[in-house]
């Protein structure tokens, strides 16, 4: 065997080093690369627009936000053109639901094309990262998936979305959609989005056999935190793990705290905390933190290794008894073969009877879209009763209109739809908080789950 000449080996090493340095400098993840690419793309697109005379070939281009939005586009009235919709709905049932919206749009605007710019992964985290870079590159889709409350704030601050109030007026949505929901989509008297459906966040799911076995009565509507803690203790004494939790994902733990907090402060207190009318350094927030800490004592020891869907499946297979999770868990339970009201039951999170924790998907429209007429069709069709029904059957959520015939929905969703029309509403912070506060709360929850230090926890929230 021959030795590699020393000079050659150093050259190889130098080459490897250059590679390593490049990789090191390229930043922590692929997102940076995306940023660069996106910026590059949008810049070159802009250059082309500036430099070239407009030609007849232009229809091949994606609509850019560079065009002056005020000028009506040539064929606006006959509703031709392309509408780019952006969402993170790519999985089976989500995609089916999205297709329901798309076919409704196509019925309303038969000559228009739709570009489905869905980005998969991370429960929307990837899509939101892509969207953030597209906004900075001034390459916005015409309409994109967002939510109420704090989800709108960054877009309003960056001044990239437009009011859609006229859609509500023209289509008569104001009379058929819950006032609390419309309010959560509004800022300064203008409405900025149309909701596709509403999930309920404050559900407490339980395994009926485990509760029976331990001699615990199935919880009813007036379930309180005291009873909940007592039941967890009874289950524990019977050798049953009380609480399933998908703590591998931070949001599942955050959501448990959020639901407990809603049960303590009630819908008015919730709104006051959200709006900043009430400090987070509040006796009731402390009380909620105490309860949260006690509940965490009964958590499945495997929790940190489980995602939310694995946690709810553990409830279905009888590993642990309770799980606090939004009603997207219902589909997981049914798909696992568990039977509603036989294998599992559900109740509102203790103390939250008559309150509907809103987790809402809604679409906003780019401020400078050249396709506002198409976007109007998109939003109007989205709010029609048939579209709402078809979408929500697939998505497992509730139609946000009160005049939808819900008899075609599964029993759980019928109940949720009725509750949405009747109950007080509270807007989820975990899902619809201001991004910066959401992150602070999530970090505080992660630390509190270990330290159980109420004072530190409350101060972290209050100083955010």
């Amino acid at each position: 065997m021959k030795a590699i000449p020393k000079t050659l080996s150093w050259k190889v090493l130098a080459a490897l080093l250059a590679l390593a340095l490049t990789a090191a400098a390229c930043g922590s993840d692929a997102e940076t690369t995306t940023t660069e690419a996106e910026v590059e793309n949008s810049e070159s697109a802009t250059d082309a627009d500036d430099g070239d005379e407009p030609t007849a070939e232009d229809d091949g281009d994606e609509p850019t936000a560079e065009d002056d939005g005020d000028e009506p586009t040539e064929d606006a009235t006959s509703s031709t053109g392309e509408l780019e919709i952006f969402s993170w709905w790519t999985s089976g049932s989500e995609d089916t639901a999205l297709q329901a919206l798309i076919s409704a749009f196509q019925a309303g605007a038969p000559n228009a094309d739709i570009i489905n710019g869905a980005v998969s992964g991370g429960g929307g985290a990837n899509a939101q990262a892509v969207l953030a870079t597209r906004i900075q590159g001034n390459d916005l889709p015409d309409t994109w998936q967002s939510g109420p409350g704090g989800r709108l704030t960054p877009y309003l601050e960056a001044d990239v979305i437009r009011p859609v109030t006229e859609v509500y007026d023209d289509a008569g949505f104001r009379d058929t959609m819950p006032a609390g929901l419309i309010e959560s989509l509004s800022v300064d008297g203008e409405i900025y989005a149309v909701a596709t459906g509403a999930h309920r966040g404050n559900n407490l799911w339980y395994n009926k056999a485990l509760l029976d076995g331990a001699g615990v009565d199935a919880p009813a509507g007036d379930y309180t935190n005291e009873q909940f803690l007592a039941d967890l203790a009874t289950l524990d004494a019977a050798g049953v793990t009380g609480l399933c939790l998908g703590a591998n994902q931070a949001f599942a733990v955050d959501e448990l705290f959020e639901n407990i907090l809603l049960g303590v402060v009630g819908p008015e207190g919730w709104a006051a905390l959200r709006d900043g009318d009430r400090s987070w350094d509040d006796p009731e927030v402390r009380e909620a933190a105490e309860i949260f800490g006690q509940v965490l004592d009964y958590v499945d020891p495997d929790a940190s290794a489980l995602t939310w869907d694995q946690a709810i499946l553990r409830l279905a297979d009888g590993t642990c008894a309770f799980n606090s999770m939004g009603d997207w868990a219902y589909g997981e339970l049914i798909n696992s073969g568990a039977v509603d009201n036989e294998d599992f039951g559900y109740v509102n999170q203790p103390g939250t009877d008559g309150v509907f924790m809103l987790v809402v998907d809604a679409f906003v429209v780019a401020k400078d879209t050249p396709n506002w007429d198409l976007a109007k069709v998109w939003l109007t069709e989205m709010g029609q009763p048939e579209t709402q029904l078809e979408f929500n059957i697939a998505k497992g959520a509730s139609p946000v209109r009160n005049d939808v015939d819900t008899s075609a929905l599964p029993p759980y969703q019928q109940g949720a739809a009725d509750a949405l029309a009747a109950d007080a509403t509270a807007l989820s912070i975990v899902h619809h908080g201001e991004p910066a506060f959401q992150t602070v709360m999530s970090e505080a929850v992660t630390i509190f789950a270990q330290t159980k230090d109420v004072e530190q926890f409350v101060q972290a929230l209050a100083s955010a």
């Binding site: 065997m1 590699i4 090191a24 400098a25 990262a129 601050e157 940190s304 290794a305 910066a436 992150t439």
Partner: protein, 340 residues
């Protein structure tokens, strides 16, 4: 322009002074310029240009979707707040401990595998492939599988159970931090109360170290194998004539020969380790009480969840400095120290 203007010309043979002209220069260096130019340009813009931009963002007030490069007041406040946060302190602790443990395990495993494969009489190619194979898998895929393996009640603990071993480690669910020295540091170091996290070894991290070592030990093995193949056989013969046993040969003869390989492995795996993101995200996420949180996850969450672009950029710069700690001495050694 004369050829002497470019330092590169020192590498090639010195041109005769008589014919210093542009054409002469291009004839000499045209190919180098042609080959290196585009690379330097692209590197300059997309690496160094964006590093500079990231540094700029890190001292700005940019939070939210609208770009805001207004300088922060005080300028470094993003850094001071970030460095004081318990989470980022835990991240720095985690990545340091992770890197040390991971490099040790991957190098030792890689070296042992390399010796075994190098000396295997048959199927050497097969084993080389087998051990290198994990390196070709995506971290996201292996992360999910390792998360299943390290789920206490359903994973590897079942094997321990069957073997009659009583220990039931919590693996990635274990929030314990052992050997916390932050209390001691606070009494020794003046102003030591800036430490807001437990400075010890988070046990949950060990599972991640095992997973990462499994995946990358094959890479270390491949480099060591190349090194072993390059050791002249005369050395082995001479050693055996001098009565060296196999163990002695590897320790005293082969190991010194493999030092350049070792340095290469440490540099490459070291910076991979410092930039860990995908494996940890898929496997344990933040971990209980940020026990497995790493700066990469922090950057992503601050930038795209919290939309705090300045904090995300500041954390990226800290990561770059950490990588620099590994790369710069290596560069120095290669281009300055290596000459001697």
């Amino acid at each position: 322009m004369t050829t002497n203007a470019l330092p590169q010309s020192r590498i090639g043979p010195q041109p005769k002074r008589a014919r210093t002209s542009l054409s002469r220069f291009l004839e000499r260096n045209g190919f180098r310029i042609l080959v290196l130019g585009p690379t330097l340009l692209v590197l300059g813009i997309f690496v160094y240009g964006f590093i500079a931009y990231t540094a700029r963002v890190s001292v700005s007030q940019w939070q939210g979707l609208a770009v805001n490069l207004e300088p922060n007041d005080p300028l470094m406040s993003t850094y001071s707040e970030m460095l004081a946060s318990p989470r980022f302190q835990a991240d720095i602790r985690n990545i340091t401990i992770f890197t040390v443990l991971f490099l040790t395990l991957a190098v030792v495993l890689g070296f042992v595998l390399a010796i075994l494969v190098h000396n295997s009489l048959r199927s050497r190619g097969l084993f080389r492939g087998v051990f290198l194979f994990p390196y070709s898998l995506s971290f996201i895929v292996t992360g999910v599988v390792w998360r299943w393996i390290f789920t206490p009640s359903t994973g590897v603990n079942l094997i321990l159970d069957r073997l009659g071993i009583d220990a039931r480690p919590g693996w990635i669910t274990d929030p314990t931090v052992v050997g916390d020295v932050s209390g001691a540091l606070e009494t020794v170091v003046p102003g030591g109360d800036v430490i807001n996290t437990q400075l010890g070894i988070p046990l949950a991290l060990i599972a991640v170290v095992i997973a990462a070592s499994w995946q990358l030990a094959g890479f270390a093995m491949a480099i060591f194998l190349a090194g072993l193949a390059g050791i002249p056989e005369e050395l082995a013969e001479a050693a055996s004539l001098d009565g060296a046993k196999t163990r002695q040969y590897y320790w005293h003869v082969a190991m010194p020969q493999l030092r350049p390989m070792l340095v290469t492995i440490l540099v490459i795996l070291g910076h991979v380790s410092l930039k860990s993101f995908d494996l940890v995200v898929a496997m344990s996420g933040r971990g209980p009480g940020f026990a497995t949180d790493v700066p990469g996850i922090y950057v992503f969450e601050q930038t795209f969840r919290s939309l705090s672009f300045n904090t995300g950029a500041a954390a990226s710069i800290v990561m770059l400095l950490l990588v620099g700690i590994i790369i710069v001495p290596y560069l120095y050694r290669t281009y300055v120290g290596g000459k001697s």
